[in-house]
Amino acid sequence: MRSILTVAILAAALPAGAAELRFATTSDPNTLDPNAGNSAPVFSLLGNVYEGLVRRGRGMEIEPALATAWEPIDGGAGWRFTLREGVKFHGGEDFTAEDVLFSYERASSEQSDTSSWFAGVDRVEIVDPTTVEFYTETPNPIFVDGIANWMMMDQGWAETNGAERPNIEQGNFATLNANGTGPYRITERQPGLKTELEAFDGWWGEDRGNVTSVVYTPVQNSATAVAALLSGELDLIEPVPLQDVRRVADADGVDTIQGIEARVIMLGFPHDADALIAGGEGNPFADVRVRQAVAKAINVPAILQTVMRGSAEQATQLIGPGLRGFSEAVGPTEYDPEGAKALLAEAGYGDGFAFSFKCTNDRYLNDEAVCTAINTMLAQVGLKPLFETMPVANYWPALRAEDHDMYLLGWSPGTFDAEHPIRFLLATPDEEAKLGSWNFGGYSNARVDELLPQIQAEIDETARQAMIDELVQITSDEMAYVPLYIQPLVWGVKAGMEVVQRPDNFLVLRWIEMPE
């Protein structure tokens, strides 16, 4: 008995095989259904299992996946895709044009959380077994960028298992099972506890590393995850808390990989309010000088140095550099507390004024600490913020209920294009047209509203960039939001591992090379 036990302990203590990956993230994807969840954790995991017509490469560029080529249909009436031949689903079914049409109907259905990707699509037609055409109401130059997370499902599999449509509230077969064409297939799924994947031998592609089996465990408490990484029980954790970065970087056998996420953290203003919820006469934030004073009062480099431990980058606009449509037209606002005081005095608020300043405390990296610093900086120029933090579950309802003055907001553009935050954060709110749905402050500028549809429809890159530059300049001059910084990404990995970290924070398993 003793010898058997010893052997078992030894086996457990041996280093994992080169081809196994054990990783942890803080939150588990809530579903395996690619249309029942629209969040980074879901797409990050499912991107290894399902594939779209197109996908993003190592540098976020769009590249062929289940479509080998695509082109605009004459004059911008839509897009024509040529499908890859000989592709098989994990269950052995052939990938066909009918599956594309089915996946479109499923993803754009009323029950789907991804229907906004297809908002301007009129109809989809199968021309021949390898050609599918998407017709859009207006020319849409970024249609292809917008569908990189749209995943192809097998029609037969979905129908046999009663999962023709996603079911967010009740769940169905596709909530717990997956059948994609991707390089990995799911072999076990215990929601919230453990997910196991294994390399799919029948995958059509060749660009893959040496990971053949994967154990994914969500670990909510990041101190526990760091301990498990240090003890060698995990090979990769995401994220490493900023206060532990130094410790992980200095430890033997582990490394950190740092980069920036595509998420910009900013401050929002109550543009359209008649009065502040903190009381007092009128809405001082309606005056552009007050908004500029707020921007000048905040020492972003100091926040990045202390609170973010030097791992974030100052933002100049609502998207980060490297994304499509990034504008070189504007620079960061310089820290200038004297200038801020002068502007406030000029606007008639030399003695400051009280306003509510709301923040999340569980949504963005170190959000509460960042806001505490901002709160102090605003007080230093004579403003009187009434600072309040809350969990995100209460935060969004408060903002939607107009129960806010100044607030913190982070935005990660799903399309990786400048148009995305314009549509959601800068356009005048309009429920019918589905515009400005996260523009809680009600910012409104006629020229911005006029430029948005033109940017959406302009095929010519140079002309499009000129319009984006103009729009970014306007919103920067008007200080619609105060862009603060681009959120950092820090992963902890076993030493010697090769991993690709993209700004969308997706973990692409097939690019991982484990050390021998």
Binding site: A12, N38, A225, A227, A228, V392
Partner: protein
Amino acid sequence: MLAYIIRRIFQSIIVLLAVGLVAFSMFRFVGDPIEQLLGQERTVQDVERLREALGLNDPFPVQYATFLGRAATGDFGISYRQSRPVAEIIAERAPATLELAFVSGFLALTVGIGLGVFTAIRRDGWAANAIMSLSLVGVSLPTFLIGILLIYVFGVQLRWLPTFGRGDVVDLGWWTTGFLTTSGLKSLILPSITLGLFQMTLIMRLVRSEMLEVLRQDYIRFARARGLSAKSVNFRHALKNTMVPVITVTGLQLGAIIAFAIITETVFQWPGVGLLFINAVQFVDIPVMAAYLMLISVMFVMINLLVDILYVWVDPRLRIDGRHT
């Protein structure tokens, strides 16, 4: 006797209804589940459709009544977060919590009684004094810190034991157990010590003071005078008479172990119902929160009811009084 029990059961039901009502009225302040369910590209139409489908537009009394009606038949609804029946999820997670609680309770009881007797007999020995001082740590340090410390020492530095999770489990169909695999047993050590430490020190201190009390009694002196061995006096005569309050406290503490496993489970990523509850709070998963709170309150009410009945059974005076009323 029967009337007494029936009255206690009736009171228990009222307590349960009250817990449910308080819990439900608090859920409105936990946040809006829709925010967590739909992505940032949702439309107002999506929000409205889902709100209607989940019954969130119903007035509060209707929601509560619906919940009670279903819960009475064992249907706790469908988790917002996992889109699966809550009863199924809880059944999956319960073995992890119950096994952890069982091992913690067992450790607390055996080690607690053993050390309690030891420190009472060797009242002035240096070992007993050292144990008493150390037990202050168990009473005063928060569970969270003890867990992290144990992980750091035995998981990261010494690498003897796993830092998180339950190890390999054996599925028996209706129950998953970690008792049958080496990694499962190793995984149990740190969390069960973390969870049981407070109860262990509590029982130890209780046994010690009760023992000291009993050892002063006349019958112990007579037993000693009769020339009985120290072992026989200490364990057969003294310890037996200290057990009544210990059993009462242990019963109540067992409930506490299960209910407060939340923190230990979070620190060790232990896949039990406590971790499930923490997740549910984070994601405003109201059906899971409601079911968990109801189950925990049912458990506490049951334990209290049993203890009350045991009192009647143990103490004849209560029985006679009960007959008169």
